[in-house]
Structure formats: structure tokens, C-alpha cells
Symmetry: C5
Subunit: 155 residues, 5 copies
């Protein structure tokens, strides 16, 4: 039985963790979910590492929603750097799913975008863990999470 | 008996550590506080790590007040990066509570903001350590520390 | 038998991993290729480390195509920092082959550039692994990957 | 007998290490000084770590004077990041004392500022090592090193 | 017999490694040189670490020539960060000798500057390894590598 960790925040304005879990349910069986909620994105790196090392998760999805200010962009950069370090220290993948508040023109689109990106990265996490062939055959295909895919330059 | 570390600075212009400790007292029992004061925010990462590894703290609250200049923003970035690294090296949470001098329009508001954010993050630290269910049920709710909460997009 | 890892992404719009593998085939024998496709460039650092530590690769080529926005530049910076850290943690080389979408004036040139840079760094990886003398004799020669070489100042 | 390390550079235009040592002499006894001079600030992180791990210093003061250009600011950032990492790897404090050439309007003031900041951080290092109560009672007091202190918002 | 590592690149447009080795020959005996050429500056951190850990070098000189674009500045920053990390992981000095293409007004001056800085840092490496007293007595003297020295503020 594989374990998929979901690390999310009380700071986010959308239940991104819930969306990811819903999506996982549609993909298949053979795994269990462990969810861990922390205050903000800078608390995510160690939360992910604890999910891997203390809860024995095989992969983690880290979901957050940085604000629109410069200070928020810095926080996102620091959190991302920490999430990459946590992966290198554990040899486990952590799918970072960040949606910046200024990526969408209005609240309704932001809500849609946050859930959509969470869902698509949940599919990526599932593929990395249980169906790596799905990723291999899409190498270089311009896939995006949230808004529509870019197209490969030569199809 | 749990141990909560409080790391603060002589550089800050507000007794943020004192505010955090006061708040903790209102939340319950079952823990003791260890306080460690250093000169500035760049001294906080190792101070937190020492609180965890040498004083056996279960969680640490790191409080600081970066100045308003570009140089100060850089210091805050370096300190934040170090605080995340300290968490990854110890598998313990450190709640970073930084209040930038330019986040408030005047000294009185800055004083209020610094203490308010310290208090709210003290509650977060307490919840992470002893009441993780409080965080789980607020996942994606747009919670903020200091100024008022953002609202979740769909309630 | 040496092992060369190829880590690439589904985000890229060009099959850079395929181009690298094609080029390697023209260079000689004495090695096998292990390919690992991940969603985006921020997933590359741990993918490379896993190729080295779990698949026993002797060298890895990490290929990605960051988008043109500021957010994308940040991602590339975070990925690069992680790729350097992965090298330091393993004492193995990882050839980073990133092509920014705004490095070429049009899609056709971007396609050419991405494949050309992948090919030239495949040659570098091969040289580092099996023909270090090829690099030694080109020290200080202004070699570039993709567009044409700069010239050494004194020839 | 405690050991205090002094790491300084040949790049600085003021003998900051000498000023720190002079100040230490006025503070008390019970320690010895080990001085280590390197070319520039980017050589300081490993110099400090060697002072701690190879010379058994209990604390280190790292003194440098970054130039006024953007390139110099980057160097200072890289050095600071390294000094924080060295602290986390050793669980020892390193007092960073950097004076940027553009912090003072003229050479005479720069000379004064560099020595004054070195002296005040020498007092901080001494306090961290031998008199932590001096820091505790100044928590949140707006203390500065070099120019005059900021005042606490509420006294 | 001490070992001095020389790590340089095929990207640089000047034979900086050659200049460093020539200078070392004028300084004395008691050491041997190990040279290792890699494609670009981002390959230098692990190259230096391999020289120290696999070739047993006592000190390394890392020479590179970042281009003039923003992207190149980022590469230099990432490489510098990695070189500092490599030093902290090994407790060995690595002299970073980077010459930015836009530091000189023309190719001839760039050629001179790159070689001159390589030579002066070769002297620094030699001093760190075999004559630390030469550095100690120049503490705070405003020494520069390449262009002329700044003067100490008070002589």
C-alpha cells in the first residue's frame, strides 16, 4: 500500500488539498492519503519532510497560495527552495502546487485555477508513483497544469 | 511536558517574544517556555537550532523585526532561508514571525501589529504541537496573522 | 559499462531528451542510457539524484525549457540551485541544459536551439565521463552550446 | 578557557578585526582570541567553520567590507548565506559584521563606522558566549551596531 | 607534498587556468598542480569538490568568465553559492576567480584582467596554504585582485 502525503495551508483561500484528494480518488486504488495542514507556505518544506520521514509517505503534494505582494513572492521563493532541499534530503518527490493570487483576473477564476492545478498535479503525483510510463510518453509535449497546455513545437 | 522555544532579538523595537509568551499562557498548560535572545534576525536560525537540539524544544517561535531598507530585506531573506534549513535539518517546526518596519503606517500601529502577529503565531505553534486538528479544519480558509483574515473564496 | 541518465520534462515543448540520446549514439559505445521524465524543471533536481543514487548513473543530463515570465525565471533559478546541490551531495556531474523560451525569436529557431544545445551538452557529458582530455585541450576557448561559439580573445 | 575566533579580510579598507580584538580586551577575561585573515568576504564562511571545527573556537566574529557595486552586494549576499549555513552545520554562533562602503558619506565616517560596528558586535559575541543575560534584558529594545540605536516603540 | 587544484572551463575566452599555473610556478615549490576542465561555471562547484575529495587537493582555484547578460549573472550567482557550499562541506578553501565579460571596456583589457586576477588569486591560494602570515599582515589593507588596490582608509 503506497502513501500519498497532502500538505496544505490555512493561509490559502481555496481548499486545494481537498481538490487534490478528490482527484486522487478518481485515479485508482492502491494508495492511502495522509493530510497535514500548516499555517503558511514557509511551513510546508518541513511538513513535507515529516510526512516522508515520520509518516512514511512515498510522495507528497505541497499546496499553497502565495499573496500578490513582493514580500509574498519572496516567501514563495524561500518555500520553493526549501521544498527542493527536502526532496534532495529524502530522495522523494514533492509536487509543488503554488497558485499566485495574481495569476487570475478575479476570485472565481482563481478558485477554478487553484483547484484545477491541484487536480492536475495530483495526477502527476499518481503517475510518478504508480504510472511513470504516462510521463515518459509525454516528454517534451508542452503540458501545463491549470491553464491550457502549450503545444509541442513539432507535433 | 512539551518545550516551546522563543527566539527573539535586541534589534526589534517591540517585545515580540513577551507578547508570544503572554499569549501561550492563555492557551492551556502542558508545556514550558525556553527563551533565547540574540542580537539580530540573522542570528535566529542557529539560535532556533540550538533551542531544538541543545535545549530539546519541541517547537520554536522565531520573532524579528527587519528594517525598511533594501539591505534589511536581504537580511530577512537570508534569515528566512536559514530558518527553513534549520527546520529541515531537525524535522521540527519553527514559526517565523517577522514584522517589517514598513508594514505599518506609524509606530503605534507597528507596535500593535508586531504583538498581534506574535500572538497569532503563538496560537499556530501551540496548535501544531498540541492541537493539529485546529489547523486541519481551517485548511484553505484564508487565515492571516496580524491584519484581518482574507476570506476563503467560496465559503 | 557506464550509465548516462537523461532527466527531462513533460513541460518542455521540444523533445530535448530524445535529441540528447540521439547524439550520444553517434559518439561511441561503452555506456547505457536511463531516461526519467518528470512534470517540470523543479522536479529535476531530485530526479537526477535518484538516477545517480538509485539507478547508479555515472553522469546525468538534465533538460528543461523554462517559460518566458518572471515566475518562470524564478523556477529556473530554484531548479539550477537544486541541481548544483544534487551534484555536491553525490560528487557526480549533472549537465544542466535549460533553454529559455525567450532565447529564440520564433518557434522554429527555439526547436533548433533546444535540440542543438541538448546535443552539444550530450557531447560534454560524454567527454566528462569518458574523454576528459577533450575538455582539457579546449580550456579557455570560448565554447558555447546552442548558438555559435565565442572566440577565445587570443588565439 | 573559551576561544573567540576573529575572521577578517585583506579586502577591507579598515582593520575591523583589530578593533574587535581591542574591544574584547576591555570586556573581561576568561577567553583567548584566534585570528584568521582571508582574501575576501566569500572566503569567510569556510574560514569561520575551520575556526570552529579545527581550532575549537566557541564563537566567531566574521568581519568584512563589501564594495558599493551590485556585484559586491551579490558577494555579500552569498557570503551571508554561507555564514548562516556554517552556523547551522556547527551549532555555533558567528557574528557577521559587514560594513558596506556606501553606508557612510565619506572615508572618515566609514572608518569610524566599521570600527564602531566591530566593537559593538564584539560585545554581542562576548555576551552570547559569557553573559547571555545582557541580551535577554535588552530583548525588543531596538539596539543597533554602528549608528545610534533605534528606540523601542514603547519604553 | 601539497596539492593545488585548478578547475577551469571551456566557456571562458581566456586561459585563466594557465595563467594561475604559471604564477604558482614563480612562488615556490612544495606543491603539485591537478587541473580539471569542465564546460561552464555551473560545473565548477562539484568539480572543485571532486578535486578535494577524490584527488586529495589541499586547496582549489576555480576560474570562470560569466557572460554579460542577466542570465549569465544568475549563473554566476548559482555557481558562487555552490562553491561556498562545497567549501563548507569539505572544510577546504576554494578561491573563486570570476571575471565578468562586462568588467573590461575591450577584449584586450579583458584578457589582461582575467589573467591578472587569476595570478593574484593564485598568490592568495598559495598564501592560504603555505604562508598564512602574508595574509595576516595585510588584514584591512584594501587589497584587490585585477585592477589596482583600494587604499586602506588610514595608513
Amino acid at each position: 500500500m503506497k502513501l500519498i502525503g497532502i500538505a496544505d495551508t490555512t493561509f490559502a483561500r481555496v481548499d486545494m488539498g481537498g481538490a487534490a484528494i478528490e482527484e486522487l480518488k478518481t485515479l485508482g486504488t492502491g494508495y492511502k492519503v495522509v493530510r497535514y495542514t500548516v499555517p503558511g507556505i514557509k511551513d510546508l518544506p518541513v511538513a513535507c519532510k515529516k510526512l516522508i520521514e515520520e509518516q512514511r509517505c512515498d510522495i507528497v503534494i505541497a499546496l499553497g497560495m502565495p499573496g500578490p505582494k513582493d514580500k509574498d513572492k519572496n516567501c514563495a521563493h524561500e518555500a520553493s527552495t526549501g521544498i527542493i532541499a527536502a526532496q534532495l534530503m529524502t530522495n522523494h518527490h514533492i509536487m509543488e502546487v503554488f497558485v499566485h493570487e495574481d495569476e487570475a483576473p478575479d476570485a472565481k477564476t482563481l478558485d477554478w485555477l487553484a483547484k484545477q492545478r491541484a487536480r492536475e498535479h495530483a495526477r502527476n503525483a499518481y503517475a510518478l508513483l504508480l504510472r511513470p510510463d504516462v510521463l515518459s510518453k509525454n516528454s517534451g509535449k508542452g503540458l501545463r497544469q491549470g491553464y491550457e497546455n502549450a503545444r509541442p513545437i513539432r507535433e
